[in-house]
Symmetry: C2
Subunit: 382 residues, 2 copies
Amino acid sequence: DMWQNPEGAPKNLASDAIINLDHGDPTMYVPFWKSIGDKCTVVFKGYESLSYFSNPKNPCWFLEPKLEESIKRLHGAVGNAVTDGYSIVVGTGSSQLLQAVLYAVTSHDQANPINVVSAAPYYSSYPEIMDLVKSGLYKWGGDAHGFDKDEPYVELVTSPNNPNGVIRGAVVNRGGILVHDLAYYWPQYTPITSSLDFDVMLFTASKCTGHAGSRIGWALVKDQEVAKKMTKYMEVTTIGVSKESQLRVAKILQVVADGCKRFGSPDGDNFFEFGQKMMAKRWEILRETVKKTQMFTLPKFALQHCTYFGELTQAYPAFAWIKCKEGIEDCEKLFRGHKILTRSGRRFGSDPAFVRGSSLYIMRQHSGWSFISAGAPRNKGL
Amino acid sequence: DMWQNPEGAPKNLASDAIINLDHGDPTMYVPFWKSIGDKCTVVFKGYESLSYFSNPKNPCWFLEPKLEESIKRLHGAVGNAVTDGYSIVVGTGSSQLLQAVLYAVTSHDQANPINVVSAAPYYSSYPEIMDLVKSGLYKWGGDAHGFDKDEPYVELVTSPNNPNGVIRGAVVNRGGILVHDLAYYWPQYTPITSSLDFDVMLFTASKCTGHAGSRIGWALVKDQEVAKKMTKYMEVTTIGVSKESQLRVAKILQVVADGCKRFGSPDGDNFFEFGQKMMAKRWEILRETVKKTQMFTLPKFALQHCTYFGELTQAYPAFAWIKCKEGIEDCEKLFRGHKILTRSGRRFGSDPAFVRGSSLYIMRQHSGWSFISAGAPRNKGL
């Protein structure tokens, strides 16, 4: 049972096994976390962390001070985002924070819900999140390229982009509110080219260190009033965020920050070096396979100077945005015929000649193709 | 600084100190959890719980099997709710589960949002939760006693009730959907008179064991399709629930279940005995004080046979619903004048002659009155 070995797929895959590349589950990072021993071990005694409160002096009263400190240290060490002058809001994953932002930047006095747009191909969960409870504050407005209304709007800028790994900027540019979803702006996935300082920036432990089960996201927010309203949203919807998760992720981010300035260390305790090497290997095999099949194309990424690694590096996105060659209209169906589950380009507001496959998974030989396979047997909207 | 000693208020309170009884924070249980030593200690290594998934065989795929087992064992041991034939859905506190239920029992095809009602005095957070994002699926419909519309509705039945500790049933009784919020249906707060088997029952670790910082709630749901839609809500809003919190609470509930069948043990490892004794002491002093002041009245509760303790017991609610005597119209203002923060009856859809004070806090002599004081210095909507 593949599920029993989440960190490694079985050695021999049955010829009728279904390979699920539909979603990403970052268990591929488990070997790194095993290799570093007890440095990240956290212990909770029965009497600890009972209170609702973490820091009453902070407007985000449920944010653990240790997590706040680790987040600042890590961004400082990596150089991917500015934290000076920003408020930090913690969330149950970055999905909850995205909803909190929308609550914070809209008003109950609005006559109509504000449009929330994102350039196609966009993260397939955005439309679902926006329209889940038919909010009167906001609604999904579709592909930002097609948004031509002369009214307030929110644009979600996902960079690097899910599904295609591209570095992006805003496309509407008519003074709307921008929310930058930077889940993948870490050195294992993409060259870090500058320390970003957008108004609202969302990050998540799931993609940074692989600790998806902890459900910890954070927002860096320039406007204190927006941060306060986001905090209010968390207070009403979930009365804060798990303290155990916050304290564990605080420890993990601290260990990553400590190790990440040592390059080429024989101890191998630089998480981003490990991650980049693994992603590079996966992309190498993926590109070789795609080349052999002659049926697909993959995005190409220019070498760029990465300020973190201090050298020219390549992007290795967590997902492969695969395009079928001319004549095949439904790429997802083609894969399904080979017992490989992917997510159709349609789901991303794009062309069915595309699919998104997860590259966070373990490589396997299958159907004559060597692809990157999944451990999880079910379809999730991740 | 009171905040530095969350489990015990300072020995000497300054005469100008503000006592905050506005909200409840269950740190009063800390001494019990200290007394039981390492039995509840949990350890997380860096490589554990990375995956999004907990149990792909369960429709609630993010529910840790150990938590599911502990929940069933504890309800079985206490005898307060039936779990056979129920689906269990875990949430980030019971607030999130309440929102999930409303999503699950409504439809995107509805022309208008369904009314959600609850009998006054009702939990002051309900209106805020319902109307937070102006959902088109549901809206706050106010006091259930005044609901006379001939249309579908949801009635929230809080029992024991927050703020007044009363055991309640539905009041509208016209075939609406019932959601039972049973956060306080545990032996330290109220006599357990039967094992409940309502369609949807909500519980939370915050009130059961005092682990509010973990943000773990659970729903017992009779209809599998409702449980599936609730799971979907969790999936879209937060992609599941913290694994660390789930695994820690699983351990804590297991220890409580193990100890709770030993009565009068010299080890003092029965959490509910400890809790009831503490609540009884607080209520004794509160009643004495109120009697002395001659200015207030408190609710009275009949002795009832508690199936858990096997004897006649008294209710000791987590909150005191205090009424000013004739002639004083604004009870909250009166308390505020004495530097004691309470929550006005108005906030509960009731009379300003009432206030709710927390009895989860530590008793202090203040303003000539001996009251139950708070450690937390800020006002929260708890």
